[in-house]
Amino acid sequence: MKHLLKKAAALLCTGLLMINMSLPVSAEEEDTSPLLPSGMTVTEVEKAFDDYIRLNTGTSDDDFMGAALVGIFQGDEVLFTGFYGETDKEHGVKADENSCFEWGSITKTFIWVSALQLYEQGKIDLNKDVREYLPEDFFRHLSYDEPITMLNLMNHNAGWQETVKPIMNKDASTIGSLRDELQAVEPAQVHRPGEVTAYSNYGAGVAGYVIECITGESFCDYVHEHIFEPLGMEHTALNPTHSDNAFVFEKRSQMHSYSINSMLAHAIDKGSNTGYVGMYPAGAACGTIGDMMIYGQALVDESAPLFEHPETQELLFSATSFYGGSDIPICCHGFWPTECSVRIYGHTGGTHFGQADLEIDPVSKVGIAVMVNESSGNHFNNVTAELVFGTLDPDKYGATTYGKATDIKGYFMPARSTHVGMTRLDPYLFAINAEQFGADDMDCIGSGLLQLTQENAEDGTRAAALLGEIRTPDNKLVALQSPSNDLIPVKAYTLHLALLTAFILVGVAAVYMMLIRRKLRKAGRWESYAGAGFMTIGRIGRLLSAVLMVATFSFVVSGGIPAATGAVIGIGQMLCLAACGIAAVICIVSLLRQKEKAHTVQYLLCSGANVITVTAILFFEMYRFWNV
């Protein structure tokens, strides 16, 4: 009996043990990774990254073709680092923690941090005209007497248009001092300081030079001494050739960048380097993902290791400009706030060789750093920020609306463009209709704030984006505000475009008219008449002007118009202007003087065509190569 009881007890215990042992196998594994502001955990986000890379690796323009680095941190803890793809496809070199990618415009944040460092030392007044820190006559052709302050440079509203001359040097030996590089490309000031936000690499470069002038040392040396070394960023370079860090110099020379040729379904290897940024504070930094995260961690560290006082770091992330008349910031001392499920602060970067993004949430101390080696397409860095920080709930600011923005109509051109000089026609080629960016679907949510809400058709989730409006006291729209680049309404856009079209068409017509004249001469049917010679000169002028316009734009697409080339084109356009103007006058005089009215149609058409060319050259300033 006892033996039987012992056996039964043993069986029971074994059974219980087996049941207990099987429980952990059948129960769900708990995801204990940290929760991010988006509501997703790090594990979920990691999986989402993997899925994105896997699903979007392909050959269309938006696909991922090269390499990507991503890091998520919270405070001083690194939550996740991911390395995807290859930095050199030909040799199968995989992306890793030693890969050095270009930071692009994230470099500008070094300027803003440096400026705040000097501010807390009392060495700079952010509201003072920067000309007081710069050498005399540094600026050679400002249009407005209003002071340009460091805050204007941080907000990118000093009023400069986009640079016309190239800012990339193909040859390292041609890189001059920061001052020389800046003065070589100084663009025209087309807006009053503080009026319109137009992202300006030149303005940031000037800010970097201000740091040099105040500290007496090169901006590169200053940043190494006051940012890289205190934080232990040992794998980041800053000068145009990256020669200030041997590790980065070597690694960067091994890193290839890629773009997509979707037609042929393959990646184009753009090589390891094809240019140097002369005004390097605006965007020459290069380094590892680890260093970028160290930098980001310092910016969320409450002890503010970059500054003497934590209050200075708080000031760094305080607003310097706002959406419309609201209290929602659009710029914070050079850092761009983005409204997601939380408000994040950061900067994106883009060069011909890659894209990068650094975003932080000072409240949760979560941050993300992303780098890819594709210059366009590839929305990986957009996706990552959304996964980590979520999207803006339309009801956060837009719970109450005052109806749709019904008076935002017509065409808008980006403030970040060229508005004077021979490239004045450029923004006309990129103007967008208000309907295209959903203006008629925007909600007015008060105080000059607009909200565009989009609903995901698949899951019904809604996300919003903010815009602001700048209006005159009599409610006339001056600009639509978007982070870093306002949109300016264009009056009579269709008319201007028609003028540009007519300019090109009369050039085409000139070719045919010259061919017809040649045909008539060969057939012996050509009868010379008063003004015919000048009409031919006018035709040559029209054709040449159209060709020079095409050449101008080709240089713009290539990265900028060198000074000498601009002068040649400008003088050529002036000669065409003179030729067409004289031809038009001669045609009109001949028309009035002719006795038999036999050539009335020719005179009228020719004078009309020449007038169109003269008008287009003058309106689009195709001749102007100076002070641009």
């Binding site: 040729n261 037609m263 042929l264 184009i268 065409y411 006309y428 080629l429 990129f430 103007a431 209709n433 295209q436 856009y493 269709t494 475009l497 028609a498 540009l500 079209t501 090109i504 068409l505 085409v508 017509a509 045919y512 061919l515 017809i516 045909k519 008539l520 057939a523 049917r525 316009m549 095409v550 734009f553 080709s554 697409v557 290539s558």
Partner: protein, 279 residues
């Protein structure tokens, strides 16, 4: 240059009589089949297919309209009549382009009607697994929105582009015809020996250039052999903006402008060449 309009009318009347005479008007059959096929497809399946008709018909116009003249070698008759050669050229350009304008307008109106009535729904309804032919308007709408146009704007733009190409083709064909009508004999298979003439017509060369050159340029740019991308960029961006402004009408006007000037040049060249031609 004074134009004798009554003489124009007479020449056109003679041409119409010549066109209608004779047996075996095979070009007419081809024209009808082509029109029926593409027009029918355009009306009942997709208006976008019907847009190609003006371009296709332009190739048939000249050989079709003058095939009897070619067949019976009656071009030399005009040398005997008391008319200026220039008047003959004027009349024929006027007639051909007048007919082309009428045909193009009819095609346009039919396709616009099809766009609004969507008769393809009658075909798709009842076919298992299909929707109500929505895919046609969806494709047009999707394409239009990508290009920043309304569907009717895209439709107009494509139509005027094809019409402009047709104007260019007709001008080149007419010039070739007046230069040497026998080059069309091979196309019409009217040669007695049955051998095709080796001499290429100007229109064939121009057509080949229109197709081959842009294709080569495109291939060159895509494969990055040619550095033409940056130069082409200005035309691309300008074209895109023209496409979007005024819902495509500016770009359409541009195409037509270029085509008209090309036709004008060919007209003047034809007058000069035909004047000295030994008939």
């Amino acid at each position: 240059m004074k134009i004798n309009w009554s003489l124009m009318r007479e020449i056109i009347r003679v041409d119409r009589i010549t066109m209608q005479g004779g047996k075996g008007n095979n070009m007419k059959l081809i024209l009808i089949v082509c029109s029926g096929l593409f027009g029918g497809l355009g009306f009942f399946v997709s208006p976008l297919m019907g847009l190609y008709l003006p371009f296709l018909l332009a190739g048939f116009f000249v050989p079709m309209l003058f095939q009897n003249e070619i067949k019976y070698h009656s071009t030399r008759l005009w040398a005997l009549l008391p008319i200026r050669r220039r008047d003959l050229v004027n009349a024929r350009f006027l007639m051909v382009y007048g007919l082309y304008a009428i045909v193009s307008t009819v095609i346009y109106l039919l396709m616009v009607l099809a766009l609004y009535l969507r008769p393809w729904r009658l075909i798709y309804t009842g076919i298992e697994g299909s929707s109500e032919g929505v895919e046609n308007t969806e494709i047009v709408s999707m394409l239009a929105s990508k290009l920043g146009l309304s569907p009717i704007g895209l439709f107009n733009l494509l139509f005027f582009a094809c019409t402009a190409l047709g104007i260019v083709w007709i001008a080149t064909s007419l010039r070739s015809y007046f230069r040497d009508e026998s080059i069309f004999s091979s196309a019409l298979q009217l040669g007695k020996s049955g051998k095709r003439k080796k001499k290429q017509s100007g229109s064939e060369i121009v057509l080949a250039l229109i197709i081959v050159v842009p294709t080569l340029l495109w291939v060159g740019m895509v494969t990055e052999i040619l550095p033409a991308g940056k130069v082409a960029a200005v035309f691309l961006y300008l074209g895109m903006q023209l496409m979007q402004a005024a819902d495509g009408f500016l770009l359409a006007a541009t195409f037509l402008f270029c085509a008209i000037f090309h036709a004008l040049y060919n007209y003047i060249a034809t007058v000069l060449e035909y004047d000295v031609r030994d008939l």
